[in-house]
Subunit: 431 residues, 2 copies
């Protein structure tokens, strides 16, 4: 096999000297199988090339932003046209108004939009809007749910004070009774209830969007006068062309959206209902690059494709093909495979794999065969994936299953001992 | 005169329906003279065009990011080349390592770099690194100093809890004795001392970088074991090609840098000394677009120009020409003008103008003559400004002084009554 990672290794050595830990944040490969490349050189459509020139069909999609395929021609054309006019200026371009109008037109619960850069900007802004609106303090979030990496929500405890979370209250994610209990315990001081459209956490099986939970969250917020914040940073436009809970008739007060809005251009948003407008107008939030025109032009082009193309149906069809193919291969090789959540955002674990020895071996084998799968983070389908791509993927995963089956399970390496602890904590959250 | 603002007015009406307050953040014109345009259509070099096609020589530079001139050809070429390969991918590009190496090579106190998007990302990250390093809680900041728009630091109180700032301690900005008092009062629990290289706050006269304050801040941090954070988000590379306090021999432990790194592409950074590396490695911070390759490629190109060109000397020469020209015009027209701080970041106030009637009239007259000056925020020189530009600017400002002199001062409009309160608060901070 021609797969090599020499250049990646050299870069990791150089990076270790000038970047803390060699890399940080969600794109760090520190906990991944050692074959996973850290550095990439280019991407096009469904394909990604690492710095050694290895080509992958990529199911991480930059951890979400790649919705339509890397370098989608229509989005790129909009980017080029705007770049020739200007990007970061002394004020916004008219495209900001157009973008807000279009987003508000597409999301049935939204009457206004504010733009920012990353998901954390939008979720943090939601806490401030909710507190300004209610005059209350408590923010209820699902335990173990990722809402970003600011002190109030980062999953990493280093450098975080207990006071940073003094008014963060945890309920059991996606559980109506636990939410009801938390609301009761803090009644009178609740600013907001945060939720994600379904469970999509690292190291955990996903859930499906649940109308019972969605409606109960809405009902409890209405009774309490609390703000319902739906965090769609990760899931937006991969479940629906509207908000994720619109199909249940549930309208959040605020929705944070990120990642896909500009198909990879840096932009996120907080959108809200009419009753939140005054509070949103009262707060002071900003960023040097929040009003840059190029990401907004990319977003206008992306939203047009979302409205007018069958991208979502293609995501679903390819996701279904992948899921069915992997399920059949797992059965044929005698492995139990848990594939959970919406097919457009796959999460795959092996049964009976408490230290992730199977999952690590299998995804590493897939990576060496040109398929970038993730052993513990949910993946993302993109609209550039073709049936031929999925067939190529399944060829590679079949070989990976063959290899795995040929291994002595007791001899499989335990690459990252901390993974066991993470799996155990995740299991406790789900127990 | 052909100056019109019809299209801007239409856009503001549309924006008011779909964006809270019609606009938010630092680029909102809500407090500016009513002639100031809110929306822009393009920019090139030293020039900016609003949506009505009015052309300006722009001294706001997108509130900082435009260092070399809008759409600098070398930076744009680097952006185009990287865009053809890819931007937001499943991991960083090798350009991230190159960028970190170059930044570390240029900043004498820096041994590592972490990249993010906006200034607030970098300053907030600094609080977490400092707390992780020291195990202490207090963050000392200059009263009234802008370090970003997160709950711990935003100047807007709406939606902010007292608990968000429970461990933020204020000292009198740029005052060694006040800092010494604050350090003494909280000795044993101080994580960090924040400072800006000089005072550059809205509604206030600026200061010059002060070696006495810089050295005392370093000395106090050394005695106390606290982390010295120099916030260069606004001033980076407009005072020096190295850190702003390097000329004084003062090495901060952490420096936040933003705005100019990519000449308008969205990227900011936190850089640090060797003794901060472990703490920086221990925290979890990230963002969907923090590892995008295009802004990093733009930054590599920008830093090369910073190292190899005379951009800084040109900023200084043009800034000096502008300052001298305006000073002479003010004297000739019988006005007192306070021009404070480094010439590369001008701040201009009229003497005896407690409600900013003079400043508002004069800057509005300049705007209508194609010169975008700001009445209360510091401005920024860029390297695309030519002597011919400055001459054109001084022609316009001379006309504005003529007009102002012809006015009955008692009849000048008071456009925004809240401005008086802001000026008064600023005066109290400086008293």
């Amino acid at each position: 096999m021609s797969w090599t990672n020499l250049r990646n290794s050299e870069l990791k050595e150089r990076a270790a000297r000038v970047i803390p830990g060699g890399m940080y944040g969600h794109e760090s490969t520190a906990l991944l199988p050692s074959d996973f490349p850290q550095f990439f050189q280019r991407a096009e459509g469904s394909r990604l090339w690492d710095v050694d020139g290895n080509e992958y069909i990529d199911f991480m999609c930059a951890y979400g932003p790649n919705l339509l395929g890397y370098r989608d021609p229509e989005v790129e054309a909009a980017v080029q046209a705007q770049m020739e006019r200007g990007d970061t200026l002394t004020g916004p371009s008219d495209v900001m108004v157009t973008l807000a109008e279009q987003l508000v037109g597409m999301l049935s619960h939204a009457e206004w939009a504010m733009f920012c850069k990353n998901g954390t900007d939008a979720t943090s802004m939601a806490t401030v809007v909710a507190r300004a609106h209610t005059g209350k303090r408590k923010i209820l979030v699902g335990r173990g749910v990722y809402h970003g990496a600011a002190p109030w929500c980062t999953p990493g405890p280093a450098g975080i004070l207990s006071e940073d979370r003094g008014h963060i209250v945890y309920y059991r994610d996606q559980d109506p009774q636990s939410l009801a209990d938390a609301v009761k315990a803090h009644a009178g001081d609740i600013a907001a209830v945060f939720a994600t459209p379904f469970r999509h956490e690292t190291f955990r099986d996903q859930s499906e969007p649940d109308p019972t939970f969605a409606r109960e969250a809405r009902r409890l917020c209405d009774i309490e006068g609390a703000v319902l914040v739906l965090d769609e940073v990760r899931a937006a436009f991969r479940l629906s062309r509207d908000g994720a809970w619109a199909a249940f008739g549930v309208r959040p007060d605020l929705t944070s959206i990120g990642k896909v809005i500009g198909n990879g251009q840096p932009i996120s948003a907080l959108v809200g209902a009419e009753n939140m407008r005054n509070a949103a107008s009262s707060i002071f939030v900003t960023g040097s690059f929040w009003f840059s025109a190029v990401p907004m032009a990319a977003a206008v082009a992306t939203l047009k494709i979302i409205r007018e193309s069958d991208y979502l149906e293609r995501l679903e069809r390819m996701g279904q093909l992948l899921r069915e193919g992997l399920a059949a291969q797992a059965v044929a090789h005698g492995f139990g495979l848990r594939q959970t959540g919406p097919v457009t955002m796959p999460q795959i674990f092996f049964a009976d794999d408490p230290e992730m020895r199977l999952g690590y071996f299998w995804t590493a084998a897939a990576v060496r065969r040109g398929v970038y799968l993730h052993p513990y983070h949910n993946m993302f389908m993109n609209a550039a994936l073709s049936e031929a791509d999925i067939a190529q993927v399944l060829q590679a995963t079949d070989e990976a299953f063959d290899l795995l089956k040929a291994q002595d399970r007791t001899q499989l390496p335990l690459e990252h001992p901390p993974v066991r602890g993470r799996l155990e904590r995740a299991a406790l959250l789900s127990a």
